[in-house]
């Protein structure tokens, strides 16, 4: 552990030299904030403890949330932060996965030039791991989100899809239903065919009121009249999710798709700008891989650039480093106030393990 800790402090010192302020958030975090943000799933990922005064507390599963909160409370912009310390991950299914490990992070809050800050974070992380046999994966969830926002369908359907961008299976199920690819459940057909839905249901119990129920029934009637998402648009979404190329070829494919779906043009140009910024930072963009659906299953609310560094030939290992842009997370934590944010974390323990004995 000492070697890993020394490496963690050295990495943090590098980030400090790059302009970041060192922060040390507490190990114990109020559970309520994390539960509100990540939902009940975080309980499967974090250790929870409690006391009589503060209620439920979580052993920090990562640093992102406390760093964002710290910045929102009293940070001046632009700001760069770095940290090093243990994070704790509950493991219910696999004894071989670490439940406690060191993380070093670098987080940037800067409104001025997203492409440049994306490239800054990626290049710093890349420098820290490039002496190892690693490959980088990148993606951009913002392109998929732009595609959803550009669909010719109701706002309600779009927000349902956006809400599930990070849950690919539910996202797919919603798309299938909104496009008529899957059948409407019989219970829904019966509900919409009836005149008085409340016939014979008895008392309305609980906190959800009769008017809330009526409002959703009305919304379902309205939704039933909405045209299905066209086969054409579905084809574009499917093609978009399948883009998996080096960045120059990915850009070419995405530009072709933008002809059919102009709503993604701006996001695609964002990828172009990022790729130029990466190039200026000395990253070999021509060899860098891009996957449009990369990063959707993480619980981090990444909504733009996403990336990870993986060890070649070691599929058993988690990512050596990962990061991305998480404007959506700051919006949730800031009650609607958004701070453009991009950051990344490294695992010094894995790095020294891979380097082997000197």
């Amino acid at each position: 552990m000492t070697e890993a800790r020394n490496r963690a402090l050295a990495l943090r010192a590098n980030f400090e030299a790059a302009g970041a302020v060192v922060v040390e958030p507490p190990v114990l975090q109020p559970a309520e904030t994390l539960l509100d943000l990540y939902g009940e799933d975080i309980r499967a990922r974090a250790y929870i403890t409690n006391d009589a005064l503060r209620g439920e507390q979580m052993l920090r599963p990562d640093f992102t949330v406390p760093v964002v909160q710290m910045h929102m409370a009293d940070g001046a912009e632009p700001a760069r932060y770095t940290y090093a310390g243990e994070v704790f991950r509950r493991q219910d299914d696999d004894l071989d996965r670490a439940n406690e490990f060191l993380q070093v992070g670098y987080e940037v809050f800067d409104r001025s030039n997203p492409a440049a800050t994306d490239a800054e974070v990626f290049a710093l992380v890349s420098d820290a791991v490039s002496h190892l046999d690693v490959r980088a994966s990148t993606g951009d969830i913002g392109i998929l989100m732009a595609a959803v926002r550009g669909l010719k369908t109701s706002e309600r359907r779009k927000s349902a899809l956006i809400r599930h961008v990070w849950r690919p299976r539910r996202f797919r199920a919603l798309l299938d239903r909104f496009s008529g690819r899957s059948a409407v459940p019989e219970s829904r057909i019966a509900l919409l065919a009836g005149n008085d839905p409340f016939q014979n249901v008895g008392a309305v119990v609980g906190k959800r009121t009769r008017s809330e129920i009526s409002a959703r029934v009305a919304a379902l009637h309205e939704d039933a009249k909405t045209d299905p998402i066209s086969a054409n648009e579905m084809d574009v979404i499917d093609a978009l999710l399948n883009v998996r190329e080096t960045i120059p070829f990915a850009l070419e494919q995405l530009r072709d798709l933008a002809v059919d779906m102009p709503a993604i043009s701006q996001a695609v140009e964002g990828l172009q700008a990022r790729s130029e910024a990466l190039n200026q930072r000395g990253v070999d963009v021509d060899a860098l891989s891009f996957e449009a659906s990369y990063g959707r299953t993480s619980m981090e609310y990444y909504d733009g650039f996403v990336f990870g560094f993986y060890v070649n030939g070691r599929a058993d290992l988690p990512a050596l480093a990962s990061g991305g842009r998480y404007d959506a997370l700051t919006r949730r934590l800031g009650n609607g106030v958004e701070i453009p944010a991009v950051g990344a974390v490294l695992r010094p323990g894995l790095i020294v393990e891979l380097e082997g004995p000197l």
């Binding site: 539960l35 309980r43 409340f198 008895g202 309305v204 409002a215």
Partner: protein, 230 residues
Amino acid sequence: MTLKLGVPSKGRLMEKTFDWFAKHDIALSRTGSDREYAGKVEGIDDVSLVLLSAGEIPRELAAGRIHLGVTGTDLIHDKLPLWKDQVVSVAELGFGHADLIIAVPNAWVDVDTLDDLDATAAAFREIHGMRLRVATKYHRLVREFLRDAGVADYALVDSQGATEGTVANETAEAIADITSTGDTLRANHLKILSDGLVLASQATLWRSRTADLDTKERNALNALLGRIEA
């Protein structure tokens, strides 16, 4: 040592377990007073009876402190995340049928599927500023089930008893609980979601994969398994 068989220490589950073993010519009985949790085994050699709460049997099986145990599938799955590595099902006993289900108020005419529940949770959170609460004591099973179904914006709240009443008391909006007949649900104005079956459970005889066996215990186990399969 003797082969240790864990059986629920009271109630219908114990009686029905005794009846089931009796059909295989193994007589289990409690000894001493009603309050004393001691038991004996007749009709087979080198097997001893350990009376335990049904909820503790999974843990004892996983720890290898008992070789065999009778308890519900629901408790094994909920309490032992690695149950496949720790226990193996020997026989389903055909009683103690109980389904772990998700139920919502009957008056939620717009909600019949998990998909509806998810959409309702989003709207509920927007209106009430809180996640939709699901009362249960089966936290892990329910959380995994809802996660696999892609349901978001809900919160599990702990309920160790009278769970069906939590909705009317406004401490939860939905429940996940064991039901055998559905009468209690109906009496509390609740209905089961059409795709809301989390787990179908029944009393099952489990063998510990972790408990060590000496020669005498192994012989007793083989004799007992032979008797059950006969």
